[in-house]
Amino acid sequence: MSYEYIKFGPEERDFIAKIEEISGQNIYSCYQCGKCSAGCAFSSRMDKTVNQLIHFIQMGQKDRVLEANTHWVCSSCLTCSIRCPREIDVAALMEAVREYILREEPEKVKISELSKEVIEKLPNIALVGNFRKMTG
């Protein structure tokens, strides 16, 4: 990645504004200390760490943000949010990215393709939680 190719026009600004609107957070409060990623129980599974994802949002790099798995791996435990020295609700940013996608494509989890046998075993609390986060 080299900087000369990074575009920062109206499209990028729109994306940032939308994420800020959904999350209610100021994306530029983040100074990239990395504490969120350090404390995240799922960092090792994320193809971009949490602070990297925030950085891409700050740069308006919509495609890079949307193709990451970071926000889907996030399980909303909120450890990042309570530890952020800049008091950003980091988990709300993850939620905002999920919502941004789900408002266009409402089924990250395709409910009708889940195995009926598996569903029958699962507790309702898991299904309710999952469908709230993974479907729109």
């Binding site: 609107e21 959904i22 999350s23 209610g24 129980a41 799922f42 599974r45 791996v73 399980s75 909303s76 435990c77 909120l78 450890t79 949010s81 309570i82 609700d89 988990a91 709300a92 939620e95 905002a96 919502e99 989890v109 889940l114 699962l122 507790p123 309702n124 609390i125 898991a126 299904l127 309710v128 939680g129 999952n130 709230r132 986060k133 993974m134």
Partner: protein, 300 residues
């Protein structure tokens, strides 16, 4: 006898019925009775962190409204809705706070609820039953009611995320909680600290990506076992399911023998206070805790 308006949540009526039955039994013994809200609805389990989605906030507000109606029928009560599940607790608490701060949002939601003759006036508090036990009942009173001390149980308290996060919902210090430890010690058990006490279990990912949960459960139980604990106590039915189910799965897959039975905090109380065994529904557990209890001669 104090009566509390009690919101069960879906899971305590189904897979986790033993958690509820034991809690209701001990609540009566402690003269702080949990009385179920008639006709309640699911809170949504996870709180929406979006700023603009009021739809997902209707469910918790409706519960608060119904709870408010409910306390009119109760005696010697407070404006409190009590939960047993940490996910319900967190969702209800956060939304309750949001509504207090954002009266426009409350008005919009009330506009929807009005047609069902249910409006919410911001006059409720949400409490986890653990808070009632600690702050209203007191551990000394609990200690007095113990007839069968849990001697030999070395329990590690697993708080999970939602009892301690976020600030609006936490019931104890987020980095250094003690309520579960204090509770199990007052029941006669030994508490074993593990730094994994709030390392997320993987939560709802159990539905679509079981591996995430398996990894977390391995890490959590591995650490707890290495510290000499023989059981886990939890306060969230989803943590309970994930820890229980994934340990069993690992046991079947790898032949691993040392596993940690999972207790809900209310089950430990029911045992120590001499409530009938059946109410705990240990048969619903994937790893049957009765073996350990037998070994320790706690179960006759």
């Amino acid at each position: 006898m104090v009566q509390y308006s009690y919101f069960p949540g879906c899971n305590l009526k189904t897979d986790a019925r033993g958690f509820e039955k034991s809690a209701i039994a001990v609540s009566k013994k402690l003269e702080s009775e949990l009385v179920e809200i008639p006709n309640w609805n699911c809170c949504g389990t996870v709180h929406t962190m979006t700023s603009d989605n009021l739809m997902k906030r209707i469910a918790p507000v409706r519960i608060l409204a119904r709870s408010r109606n409910h306390i009119e029928e109760l005696e010697d009560t407070l404006n409190q809705a009590v939960t047993l599940c940490s996910m319900c607790n967190s969702t209800l608490k956060i939304v309750n706070k949001e509504m207090k701060e954002d009266l426009d949002a409350l008005e919009t939601i009330n506009f929807q609820l009005e047609e069902d003759n249910e409006t919410y006036e911001n006059d409720m508090e949400v409490k986890h039953f653990l808070e009632i036990l600690r702050d209203s009942v007191g551990f000394s009173k609990i200690r007095e009611k113990v007839v069968k001390p849990l001697i030999g149980l070395k329990i590690s308290a697993y708080y999970g995320c939602m009892l301690l996060h976020p600030d609006e919902a936490k019931i104890d210090d987020a980095e250094m909680p003690s309520v579960l430890e204090d509770l199990v010690e007052s029941l006669g058990a030994e508490s074993i600290f593990s730094p994994m006490f709030k390392h997320c279990c993987g939560s709802y990912h159990i539905v679509e990506d079981e591996d995430i949960v398996t990894d977390q459960v391995k890490k959590i139980t591995g650490d707890v076992l290495s510290r000499g604990a023989n059981a886990l106590v939890v306060a969230c039915p989803l943590c309970a399911y994930n820890l229980d189910q994934q340990q069993k799965m690992l046991m079947e897959k790898t032949g691993k023998k040392d596993v940690l039975p999972i207790f809900y905090f209310s089950q430990l109380m029911a045992i120590a206070m001499g409530e009938p065994w059946e109410i705990n529904h240990f048969e619903d557990h994937k790893i049957d805790p009765r073996e350990l209890l037998k070994k320790l001669k706690i179960e006759e």
